[in-house]
């Protein structure tokens, strides 16, 4: 395949940045999208040009490190991660525009690399159960109905990639935040801190500068792990009931 790539290049956080166009040839449909980027970078390196920087690690669709806004979609046209996207999803001669995630809370570091530290800080605000190592009950002393466990699991599969933020017109992190709040709200282990967790995580999410939710559903449509909007509804419930019931005046 022969393609034209329009890629956002930006030297560092303070650089203004611009699109640069690269023609590329000899791409096989079996390649993954990132392997196509590798080919481009090998070519650039040989020519002595700075390779295009992008985040990636596992290349298995699970670590959540890869990003890229491809032709107007986070992780490209398929509902999967960029590393699991294959070139057979594109056609010969196509122009592909590649941009970084765009959000105030995800500042660009270089080229297509952004800083998603805000997600870590949201988790740090309360995305855990307060238990120390040791001294916990036997695992089977906490029976959990399979249906509940499965539903909590669905929420727990979020890979923290940020595609939901990238897709949302408001750069809202509600899907990400609600997935964690939901997981722990459903499980018995999460009950003790259920209220404070919702309050703190939502407050942190707002502090990071993410937008609000207009319920457009773009996040759900683009989330590579199929995290559902029901999580956001649950988070809202959790948050309202925590606000009303908790002792934090």
């Amino acid at each position: 395949m022969k393609l034209t790539l329009k890629i956002w290049r930006q030297k560092n956080a303070s650089d203004k940045g611009a699109f640069v166009t690269y023609p590329i040839d000899g791409i096989s449909t079996d390649m993954s999208f990132l392997e196509m980027m590798d080919v481009l970078n090998e070519e650039l390196a040989i020519k002595g040009e700075d390779p295009v920087h992008f985040d990636h690690d596992c290349r298995e669709g699970i670590c959540g490190m890869c990003s890229l806004y491809i032709n107007g979609h986070p992780h490209g046209p398929q509902q999967t991660t960029t590393c699991q996207l294959h070139m057979r999803s594109f056609s010969d001669g196509e122009t592909i525009t590649i941009e970084p995630w765009r959000a105030a809370a995800f500042p660009v570091v270089k080229d297509l690399v952004v800083d998603r530290g805000s997600f870590d800080r949201i988790i740090q605000a309360g995305g855990y159960v307060n238990v120390n190592t040791g001294g916990v009950p036997d695992a089977n002393e906490i029976p959990i109905p399979k249906r509940v466990a499965d539903e909590a699991f669905d929420s727990a599969t979020c890979i923290g990639c940020g595609a939901c933020v990238a897709a949302c017109k408001n750069a809202s992190a509600m899907l990400f935040t609600s997935a964690k709040i939901s997981q722990l709200a459903m499980l018995p282990q999460g009950q003790v801190e259920r209220m404070s967790r919702a309050e703190k995580m939502v407050a942190q999410m707002d502090d990071e500068g993410f937008g609000a939710c207009t319920n457009t559903g773009a996040c759900e449509a683009e989330c590579p792990k199929g995290i559902s909007l029901t999580n956001i509804a649950r988070m809202n419930r959790e948050y309202f009931s925590a606000s009303v019931k908790s002792e934090n005046v």
Binding site: G72, R102, G211, A212, T214, G217, I232, A233, M235
Partner: protein, 226 residues
């Protein structure tokens, strides 16, 4: 900050206000459209004028109307606040954005709302202001005096532009509600495998039926009363 202001100024709390005010406005619209159906009676406006008097004098209705004013103002103020936050959350936009799989309405609630707001201002100035403080002729039914709002309405809808304006505005309202109705329930956290499809369906019906009923009135008057 007290917990109330803290909650209501969070992004989720602000949406709570949007949803509650929006739903109240939907309730209001339901009553409003039901009442206005009196316009379609061919009784020279009697039923309508009696209804209009009831609406402006009954204390319970008065209370509701204040709530409606507050809702509109609250809805608008919070929508502006939210929109500002949302815009600030993405200072640099994308070069390419192919329309995602979301609806046009959901992506343009602010624009739709703004047009509705303009409509509301015009609408209030034409009728509500007239009814309260305008120079309105009186009619008498069964010995009781009524303001003849009906004649004002009929006069207004002789103007084809006015009619078109109303129809267009109602189209925008339809789009606003095509997303807003179900969205408000989602915001309130009412998302349930059993009930959400029903809510979505009612929303779809509502957003078509109510605006059409509203729009039918000026059209009807334009064609029947000229």
């Amino acid at each position: 900050m007290s917990w109330v202001t803290k909650t209501l100024s969070s992004t989720i709390g602000r949406k709570l206000i949007m949803a509650l005010t929006g739903l109240f406005l939907i309730l209001f619209l339901t009553g409003h459209v039901a009442g206005n159906l009196q316009l379609l009676k061919s009784d020279g406006g009697e039923a309508f004028n009696i209804y209009a008097k009831f609406m402006t004098t009954n204390p319970a209705v008065k209370l509701l109307s204040y709530l409606t004013y507050i809702s509109i103002i609250g809805h608008v103020i919070f929508s502006i606040w939210l929109s500002k936050t949302n815009r600030a959350a993405r200072p640099v936009g994308y070069g390419v954005s192919t329309p995602p799989s979301t609806t046009i309405s959901s992506r343009n609630m602010g624009i739709l709302g703004t047009i509705i707001l303009i409509f509301i201002v015009v609408h209030m100035q034409s009728f509500w202001y007239q009814m309260h403080w305008g120079d309105i002729p009186f009619v008498t039914y069964d010995g009781v005096e009524y303001k003849d709002l009906y004649s004002i309405v009929v006069f207004a809808f002789q103007n084809v532009w006015m009619v078109i304006g109303y129809v267009v505005a109602m189209a925008f309202l339809a789009f606003h509600l095509s997303h807003g109705f179900a969205s408000a329930f989602q915001t309130l956290g009412l998302n349930h495998a059993k009930y959400s499809p029903a809510i979505a369906l009612i929303g779809k019906i509502y957003c078509i039926v109510v605006p059409i009923l509203f729009a039918s009135m000026p059209v009807y008057i334009y064609f029947t009363q000229s």
